[in-house]
């Protein structure tokens, strides 16, 4: 293995990590409803708005898949343990079209593993878990991504 050290994220060349890329989780059908969105919003209380997004005609991937990392792991994908410590490194949601009430199909996969070295010299690896949503008609609704961040020294790959 050639150790790639960079201040920005680059694709890892570690074959022990790369072998997981492309792995698919179980396909899941979720039915989004105003009630479900209201449950998510109830965790925010009334801090930001008296009107909740459960009344919005447009829902997004952040409503269909509010925690992409947790969702992807729940579909059977392994939480990779590439270095000493694993944390939730971030999330991303992209909406390609509005999502209404009704069933949607979610397909999750391990999309990529990147690595870099922090300014403090700590090695970090980032696994991207990608969840793609499709409508009942097969239309792509959007994509949600969860980033699992591994921090620390050398470590083996274990699911």
């Amino acid at each position: 293995m050639r150790d790639v050290v960079s201040a920005s994220w680059v694709f890892t060349e570690d074959n022990n990590a790369l072998k997981w890329c492309g792995m698919l989780g179980a396909t899941v059908t979720r039915t989004l409803s105003g009630n479900q969105v209201a449950k998510l919003d109830s965790s925010l209380g009334s801090r930001f708005s008296q009107k909740t997004s459960s009344q919005s005609p447009r829902w997004g991937m952040e409503d269909l898949c509010p925690d992409p990392l947790v969702f992807a792991i729940g579909t059977g994908l392994p939480r990779l343990r590439l270095l000493e410590t694993q944390i939730d490194g971030g999330s991303e949601w992209e909406n390609l079209c509005s999502i209404g009430a009704g069933p949607a199909t979610l397909v999750s996969r391990i999309a990529a593993v990147h690595q870099k070295e922090s300014s403090g010299g700590r090695r970090m690896m980032r696994t991207t878990y990608e969840v793609t949503g499709y409508s009942a008609r097969g239309e792509k609704l959007g994509v949600a991504r969860g980033f699992s961040l591994d921090v620390g020294g050398e470590g083996g790959v274990a699911a």
Binding site: R47, G60, V70, E92, N95, F147
Partner: protein, 299 residues
């Protein structure tokens, strides 16, 4: 009109009042997301993992940031196209978090509204940035009067220009099920497509042709809508198994003013042809949306 609560200007920066997240908030979040990782709501589990207390879920902070932003700019006319968050440091329950926003850019278009790029920072009481993010928001054009955007609708549907063709197989099982559900006696069930079945061959009803979905986001309150009329004429019976091509042309967009509401009509014509290219039928469909007049809403 629903006025934005703040003027959207590039460079604007503001900080919301601090938010203290409770364990109850995170239990609700756990229930809604089915994430029952204990260190998010169980103090002992969190301490065992080296945290000072239950850890606030990163996506909770992302959702809170979105809610705060949309509430600030008036979310009736706004929708999020993309948002990305990086969780840099764990926040624990009971600690006040500050959400700070900066409008990085505003791209305006008269017809389509505005696109905002908003950066977000979440800071702990020591002003350490624990989370950073960017939210991309689309704002629909604001309507300052009761006027419906007729020209925009006409342009969106390309009035007079055919769309398609869209091809659909007329399935025997669908015809049979339709005939049964509509009460036809068993001995009269056949393989001829009923006249009222035309909707199954309509690209708009099937959502294969969506040209004016921006109407969902108009800032004028929508109070109703549905099919206004349908007219179908067949040149010959359409049989199960046939592959039918459909071309859709919007022919009229107009409005009618009612008491307290304004009605927006979009009329489209579908032309059905068979595999030899011969026209086998036409349908003319009118759809109506009802909007509350601003003056009525003010009463």
């Amino acid at each position: 009109m629903i006025a934005p609560k703040m003027k959207v200007v590039a460079g604007s920066t503001w900080r919301e009042d601090p938010v203290t997240v409770s364990a109850a908030d995170l239990v609700r979040w756990a229930g809604a997301t089915e994430d029952f990782t204990e260190f998010h709501f169980d103090k002992e589990a969190a301490i065992a993992r080296g945290f000072q207390g239950p850890v606030v879920n990163g996506p909770w902070k992302a959702r809170a940031a979105k809610a705060a932003l949309l509430a600030r700019i008036g979310h009736q006319s706004a929708h999020v196209r993309r948002m990305t968050f990086e969780y840099r440091k764990a926040d624990v329950v009971g600690v006040a978090l500050a959400f700070e926003f900066t409008i990085a850019s505003v791209t305006e278009s008269d017809a389509d509204g505005s696109d905002l790029e908003v950066t977000v920072r979440v800071l702990d009481p020591a002003d350490v940035v624990t989370t950073v993010g960017t939210i991309y928001v689309h704002l629909e054009p604001q309507c300052d009067s009761d006027d419906l955007p007729l020209d925009r609708v006409r342009s969106a549907v390309s009035l007079g220009t055919p769309h398609g063709p869209f091809s659909y197989r007329v399935e025997h099982a669908d015809i049979e099920r339709y005939q049964r559900l509509s009460g036809r006696p068993e001995d009269r069930i056949d393989n001829i497509m009923p006249a009222a079945f035309f909707g199954s061959l309509d690209p708009v009803e099937r959502r294969d042709l969506e040209l004016d979905d921006f109407l969902l986001d108009l800032s004028i309150p929508k109070i109703g809508g549905g099919n206004a009329f349908n007219q179908v004429e067949y040149e010959r019976p359409i049989l199960a198994g046939e592959l039918i091509s459909v071309t859709t042309t919007y022919t009229e967009v107009y409005e009618k003013k009612g008491q307290g509401s304004r009605l927006l009509f979009r009329v489209r014509e579908n032309v059905f042809t068979d595999e030899s290219g011969t026209q086998v039928g036409t349908a003319r469909n009118g759809h109506v949306l009802a909007y509350q007049l601003a003056s009525a809403g003010a009463r």
